[in-house]
């Protein structure tokens, strides 16, 4: 049986790698979205680890819903990205300064 803490640490490493990825690739919207996908994967790991450890299937149901929402998010995000690229010919975050907050 796999210890719970090892799975949690693995998902923590995965999550922190994606946080670092957001930091070092902060100009490329495409990579930012990929890092968000990795973060959601890490969160799913936690749910599955606890579902396995506690013998409760509700955690797996939550993973199911997170996968649904992540798929919807990436579809809409990529659609927005395609429209953006069509308008600006660039996916650099620094070019997106139309609103100048």
């Amino acid at each position: 049986m796999i210890p719970l803490s090892h799975v949690l640490l693995l998902s923590g490493i995965l999550f922190s790698l994606s946080v670092a990825g957001i930091f070092i690739n902060r100009k490329n919207v495409l990579l930012l979205l990929m890092c968000i996908e990795l973060m959601l994967l890490a969160v799913n790991f936690n749910f599955i680890a606890f579902a396995h450890h506690l013998g409760d299937l509700s955690g797996q149901v939550f993973v199911f819903f997170i996968l649904t929402v992540a798929a919807a998010e990436s579809a809409i995000g990529l659609a927005i990205l395609v429209v953006l690229f069509r308008q600006r010919r660039s996916i650099n975050v620094e070019d997106l300064d139309a609103m100048r907050g």
């Binding site: 090892h6 640490l9 490493i13 506690l54 013998g55 299937l57 809409i76 650099n92």
Partner: protein
């Protein structure tokens, strides 16, 4: 025992592919590393007893979502070098941040004991146990309304993605299906009643 060994092997591969995602130079390589990461996590989920979700991850994520990603990445003509400016400048900060997050999680997981006792049921499943059947039973009874909300979310995502990316070029010849269906015979042909002409 073999399960533990497999867990560490595939966990190491997962971490390596996640590193590949965040450091690869070419966005196509990033997407392919992400595919490897998803496949490795599917194996890990299998080891953790989530068979249905592992297969869903492979079919839906690797099969559909990542293909969509690759299409979008290859459609765009991205100037990679310009986007990577400041990569080395921010890499130490990113690494430091990652280490801090890992340290915090390790402290929570190990030093402060979570105080959870493992369920005895998770060790030994009864004969003929099916993860898919159990999950389906739960989804269609206890989580029926969230399940339907999830379906609506997917529908909204489809509609949003299509309306965002659809464009009409000027001068394009298109069929208007609505007008075609709405056509009736009397709009198209005119029956003229007239007397027969006499022989010339």
């Amino acid at each position: 025992m073999i399960v533990n060994v497999l867990f560490y092997i595939f966990g190491a591969m997962l971490v390596a592919s996640a590193l590949g995602v965040i450091t690869a130079r070419n966005p196509v390589h990033c997407a392919l590393y992400l595919v490897v990461a998803f496949l490795n996590s599917a194996v890990l989920w299998l080891l953790l007893g989530a068979e249905f979700l592992a297969l869903t991850l492979v079919v839906v994520y690797v099969g559909a979502v990542m293909v969509l990603w690759l299409f979008v990445v290859m459609m765009m003509d991205v100037d990679v070098e310009k986007l990577r400016q400041g990569f080395t400048r921010y890499a130490p900060l990113g690494a430091l941040l990652a280490l801090v997050v890992v340290a915090q999680i390790a402290v929570v997981v190990w030093v402060r004991n979570l105080g959870l006792t493992a369920a005895p049921a998770s060790a030994a499943r009864p004969e003929g146990y099916s993860n898919t059947a159990e999950l389906g039973h739960l989804l269609y009874t206890e989580y029926l309304y969230p399940f339907e909300v999830a379906a609506v979310i997917l529908l909204v995502a489809i509609v949003a993605a299509i309306t965002l990316t659809m464009r009409r070029r000027p001068g394009q010849k298109l069929q208007d299906i609505g007008r075609q269906v709405a056509v009736r015979a009397r709009d198209r042909i005119r029956v003229v009643k007239m007397d027969a002409e006499g022989r010339q």
